[in-house]
């Protein structure tokens, strides 16, 4: 009897096929995506060429990511790492955002049928509007208001960093119904695209990296939506069949499960940089003194090992979810662990290669720009540490 960290042959094969495909088909268009601040012109042809199902959201009835014996969440880790191994733009092209995740967590059965199932089944792009100009990590400071007006909600306020905001089928909006109640007054609303009063202030921000991902700035100006567009409610008010865990806390808990996926993305990018660097360095090996080459070989191995440890933490966190015992701390450990180390690996690879490493001839410089956001969004490294510290020390941790 012992433990086994081995993935099933089927899942490993799926990951290998994804990786080979993303390198072969997606990576050559990475520079174009970065320069255009948009998906490459031929993005849907690239997705057409994918040999395995990836749950595309751009076409109806796309085949979902297959079910493997390893579990749904563990499968997603393999998906995230290997899709991003080619280049992160391709995930933007496949993925439909995270706006539907809170629906599954705190929506009524009817809301799930309306807004969650179609997204998963036939592919729809969703937006997620939480952050505001004056608040990010501290979501209790949300200033966007939702005021009930008879059978409607009226939304007013500003949102930034809304992924896909300008193109999403609907946007999941966090707004306060009662400022005096702080975090408890925050509820979650579904605003379909083209709702009057939903204004796209800026379709896409000018960013350091992940430029092909649309990051929108939104404003809600007397934006009116039906009563039942508040998650957990129906047309008459609070729904009897809503999950017990509602509101902001419930909605945000839907993000915790996604945190190891972000870490897996970081590992995919860092592994890509490491593999490119190793190949280039081997080809230039004669340029280094034997002493330096010995150091470099040891460093490449050490970086590989660091990525391996990150994978273990990801697997543990998602294994727990798949087995019905999710741990917020385990997810925070996974996300707190890998992204910064992965940044360092990409930087290190650039350094080992010298000025060629930071030139646009290679993609490492792009990946160094892309990867920075992974230690920030979906909970900064500092917030992950706070989550872990509170698990250890209780509320006294600060």
């Amino acid at each position: 009897m012992t433990l086994s960290f081995e993935l099933s042959d089927e899942l490993r094969g799926y990951g290998r096929q994804l990786r080979d495909w993303s390198v072969r088909e997606a990576r050559p268009l990475a520079r174009e995506a970065d320069d255009r601040h948009a998906l490459p012109a031929d993005w849907s042809k690239v997705l057409d060429s994918c040999p395995v199902p990836v749950g595309r959201t751009d076409i109806p009835d796309a085949e979902p990511i297959p079910a493997f014996p390893d579990g749904e969440k563990v499968t997603m880790l393999v998906y995230y790492e290997n899709v991003n191994y080619g280049d992160p733009w391709v995930m933007t092209a496949i993925g439909g955002g995270i706006g539907h995740l809170p629906v599954r967590k705190i929506g009524t059965p009817e809301q799930i049928a309306t807004w969650y199932t179609p997204v998963v089944k036939s592919g729809l792009m969703t937006g997620f509007a939480l952050t505001e100009p004056q608040c990010g990590s501290d979501t209790s400071q949300i200033a966007t208001t939702a005021i009930r007006d008879g059978g409607s909600w009226v939304l007013n306020g500003n949102k930034i960093f809304c992924s896909n905001g300008a193109q999403a089928e609907y946007i999941t909006v966090f707004a306060t119904t009662d400022k005096a109640a702080g975090a408890r007054g925050i509820a979650v609303f579904i605003v379909p695209r083209d709702t009057p009063g939903l204004i796209i202030v800026k379709a896409n921000e000018s960013k350091l990296g992940v430029r092909s991902t649309l990051t929108s700035e939104l404003r809600f100006e007397n934006c009116v939506i039906p009563l039942e567009n508040r998650l957990g409610w129906d047309a008459a008010g609070p729904a009897a069949d809503a999950p017990s865990l509602g509101g902001q806390a419930g909605a945000l808990s839907s993000l915790a499960d996604n945190r190891p996926n972000v870490a897996a993305w970081a590992i995919g990018t860092a592994q890509a940089a490491l593999d490119v660097a190793r190949e280039r360095l081997l080809a230039q090996r004669h340029g280094f003194t034997p002493r330096r080459w010995t150091v470099i070989e040891a460093e490449l191995d050490r970086m590989d090992a660091a990525l391996g440890r990150g994978r273990l933490l990801n697997l543990k966190a998602q294994y727990l979810v798949d087995h019905g015992t999710p741990s917020r701390a385990a997810a925070a450990i996974a996300k707190g662990f890998s992204p910064q180390t992965c940044e360092r690996i990409v930087l290190r690879c650039m350094q080992l290669l010298g000025p060629e490493g930071t030139s646009r001839k290679l993609l490492l410089e792009k990946w160094y720009r892309d990867i920075k956001i992974l230690d920030i969004f979906e909970g900064t490294a500092q917030i992950q540490r706070l989550v872990i510290a509170r698990q250890l020390l209780g509320r006294a941790a600060g």
């Binding site: 952050t131 004056q134 608040c135 990010g136 990590s137 501290d138 209790s140 400071q141 930034i160 921000e205 000018s206 960013k207 350091l208 990296g209 230039q284 340029g287 280094f288 003194t289 002493r291 330096r292 150091v295 470099i296 460093e299 050490r302 660091a306 440890r309 707190g336 662990f337 910064q340 180390t341 940044e343 360092r344 690996i345 930087l347 290190r348 650039m350 350094q351 080992l352 290669l353 010298g354 000025p355 060629e356 490493g357 930071t358 030139s359 646009r360 001839k361 410089e365 160094y368 720009r369 920075k372 956001i373 230690d375 920030i376 969004f377 490294a381 500092q382 540490r385 706070l386 600060g398």
Partner: protein, 376 residues
Amino acid sequence: MDLTPPDELIAVAELARSLGLEKLAPAARSAEAAGQVDGAVWRALTESGLVSGLRAEHGGDGLIDAATQMAAAENLAYGDPGIALAALWSGAAATLLSEHGTAEQGDRARRLSRDAAAPGAIAMYEGFGRGPDEWTTTVGGGAGTITVRGTKVGVPFAAAADPLIVVGTDADTGTLRAVVVPAGAPGVTLEPADGAIALSATQSLVASFDVTLPADAALGGGSLDPVALAVSVERIRLILGAVAVGVAQRAIDYASEYATERVAFGRPIAGFQGVSFLLAEKQMRVEAARLAVAEAASLIDGGAAGADALGPLRRAVRETVNYAADAAAMTTRDAVQVLGGHGFLTDHPVELWYRSAAALAALDFDPLCSAFAPAV
């Protein structure tokens, strides 16, 4: 023992700081987009006397001491590292001609640093962790000719420079020599300009040389002091360390100000040790790097001109540049981190510094001087 900065150093640092903030910082984005320093900014820099040190007979005020020069470099980079390096590297080429050149070469120094469109440049870095004592580019003389062969990386103004001074190793003696290569000389091969993560105003490229020129193209003609040239080379390498300190300090100051204004969980985020210690630890690194740059500069100023002193000087510069550049990379990434999502937008300059520090950290890097460490 004297750690009190002389009045002249303080005055130069203040002048450079104000130039950096008033001229360089506002021009940073446009210089990056254009891949060139704006003419008015370039003039302001050259006229300040901060980027070169020409002898009086070449129209300058003479070489300033290295400690003062590094203070100037740091504070210009506090404004913008890309513009600062472009001007400092061009100024270094003029200084090298003035300091070590023949009378005719010294005359070229006079006009060099004034012209943003045709700056001077020095080709010296080779990558592979090599220091000057390991450079494989060779300089050798034939009958009435001099030949330079080898490949250099990170060559600023590689396409525009006139002249380009190539530093290599004497094929016979193993000491450093340099060749003054005029623009358009046959045998210079430039890699296509694809751009890079940052520092675009330096117009840096990979350049390969198989160039034979008349013997008078040798820097200093037949009377070059190779040890003096080697010390000048260390001084130029050290600029990179000073620039790294400057951009890192700016990132700390910018992020610190943000952290005192940005409120989360009921107080400025500066009130959380997760933020304040992050910056405090980087301040330790930056201060250590700043003193290491100053100490290496003091070795130059204290007469490292003797051949015996060259080894310790090279070691000090190598370690210092690597430490400072690593510190700048860590510091600028933490500055982005402190600004959070806002730091990821081009609305703030921290992303530019993050990119710039990465370019600095890859240029004169030696894997024997800096080690990979996982963050956790």
